[in-house]
């Protein structure tokens, strides 16, 4: 994910293997692009790749196919090639080292009062996710071409997360996650703001998560679910895209509701936080289960996030670009935002 503040281009690129990676009948590679141009125009592309034409390994982040390749060498990724009609030529050097899910979990558990929700979500995530890791800051430099337009990108606000092992879709009830794509060299911005609210349990009613804020001077705060209020209002009516294309063919009227604004509010002694998310563009991705009829909906959102916060004596009041991902099983739960 990245947002270039000069060219005002947002990009979400996803490279994945679905199904059984050892069985070409039940597994395949997929490369996906969701781009939002400076005028709010959306470009999306999805290309499936046969396993026989894909080089991947759980021990290496490379994803190499004939049409498009992600390769990692010397602390830098290179993304080159085409996903359908989206052409990519990007250098992505890693600025900050990777952080594993265990590191984040242990950090939260060791610095905060442990509660049932925290343990429930941690246990569930440890069971479902195998080798999740995030790269909290990346540089993204290069160019992207889509539908006759060329976008130049040069930013240090890139973010990546990577599941390098197996991931079990079967029992996932969904999550809301995202990252404010902060530039700590810009006055009045923190080093990092990220959030995750994870839903679990047989009916998906159990949920736990929180917001992590890190100041440029290194002060870190975690606002757990018990301290956070989430308010959703209105209905998003801007630019939308649907992937894969057959979603529109199978479900012509499917338009999962997305709020016009989402507000996170939290107070913890002298620290306080309010983030107002306003989606600018939404891409709905419907992922079909490989072994059953379950489907999972991803609402990928390019948002403006208005951050008002006081953390460790620092005060923030700034509009920051943001990636927000809301995931739910399609049609399984009675959720007003499904």
């Amino acid at each position: 994910m990245f947002f270039d503040r000069k060219s005002r281009v947002f990009g979400l690129l996803n490279f994945a293997v679905h199904g059984n990676p050892y069985d070409a009948r039940r597994g395949y590679g997929a490369a996906l692009a969701f781009l939002v141009g400076p005028g709010g125009e959306i470009h999306t592309a999805l290309k499936l790749i046969p396993l026989g034409k894909l080089t991947i390994s759980p021990y290496n982040p490379d994803f190499i196919a004939d049409e498009v390749a992600v390769s990692y060498l010397g602390d830098s990724f290179t993304i080159k090639g085409k996903i359908d009609d989206v052409s990519l030529d990007l250098k992505v050097p890693v600025i900050l080292p990777p952080v594993t899910m265990n590191q984040i979990g242990l950090d939260i558990l060791s610095k905060n009062q442990i509660n049932r929700g925290m343990l429930g979500a941690a246990t569930e995530m440890a069971r479902v996710w195998d080798k999740w890791v995030e790269l909290p800051r990346l540089s993204v430099v290069g160019k992207i071409r889509a539908q006759g337009k060329e976008y130049l990108v040069d930013t240090t606000t890139g973010y990546q997360d990577h599941e390098g092992g197996r991931f079990d879709w079967g029992t996932v009830a969904g999550w809301d996650t995202g990252v404010l794509l902060c530039d700590p060299t810009s006055a009045g911005e923190p080093e990092r703001v990220s959030f995750l609210f994870y839903r679990y349990g047989p009916s998906g009613a159990s949920s736990y998560g929180g917001i992590i804020v890190k100041t440029a001077s290194g002060v870190e705060r975690f606002f757990g679910s018990e301290k956070v209020t989430v308010t959703k209002s209105g209905e998003f009516s801007g630019e939308r895209a649907y992937l894969p294309g057959v979603t529109r063919l199978l479900y012509p009227d499917y338009r999962p509701r997305v709020p016009a604004t989402i507000v996170f509010s939290a107070v913890d002694s002298s620290d306080s936080l309010e983030i107002t998310f306003t989606p600018r563009a939404v891409c709905t991705i419907v992922v079909a289960g490989v072994s059953d009829e379950a489907e999972t909906t991803f609402n990928e959102m390019c948002c403006d996030a208005e951050l008002k916060a006081t953390i460790g004596g620092m005060t923030y009041n700034k509009l920051i670009p943001c990636w927000f991902e809301s995931v739910r099983p399609r049609g399984r739960f009675d959720d007003p935002w499904l």
Binding site: R25, P244, V246, P252
Partner: protein, 132 residues
């Protein structure tokens, strides 16, 4: 070179037999009695479903055909990739379908089932793209 329509349908049937035998039985059950003419650009194939068997041939007697579907490859892939809705394809005349309303409704349910299956079957998906 792109795969020919009849060869595609034969191979598709093999994939269904190997990977989705239960779903194939259900499809045959739903489609029993249909004689379906598919025209893709200038290629023609007739799919006949009778007595739990599917046969794919190049022609059939005119009066036996109860569904006719005409579509171009570019329209087919635009629809599959979400660039064109079915309604738009009908409006522009790039997709033409003839048959009794009752038969067309049956066909629609069958197409829905096949498309759903295609999403979960990489072999089905990649085979379809060999038509391009």
């Amino acid at each position: 070179m792109a795969l020919r329509l009849r060869k595609f349908l034969d191979e598709l049937l093999d994939v269904l037999k190997e990977d989705y035998p239960k779903q194939l039985s259900r499809l045959i059950q739903d489609a029993n009695g249909l004689t379906y003419l598919q025209v893709l650009d200038k290629e023609r194939a007739v799919i006949t479903v009778r007595n739990r068997r599917i046969t794919i041939t190049g022609r059939a007697k005119k009066k036996e055909i109860n569904v006719r579907v005409y579509i171009s490859k570019s329209c087919l892939f635009d629809v599959l990739e979400g660039k064109l809705t079915l309604a738009e394809a009908f409006e522009t005349g790039e997709l033409k379908v003839f048959g009794s309303p009752q038969t067309l409704l049956r066909c629609y349910a069958i197409w829905e089932r096949v498309i759903s299956l295609a999403r979960t079957s990489p072999r089905f998906y990649f085979l379809t793209y060999e038509l391009r």
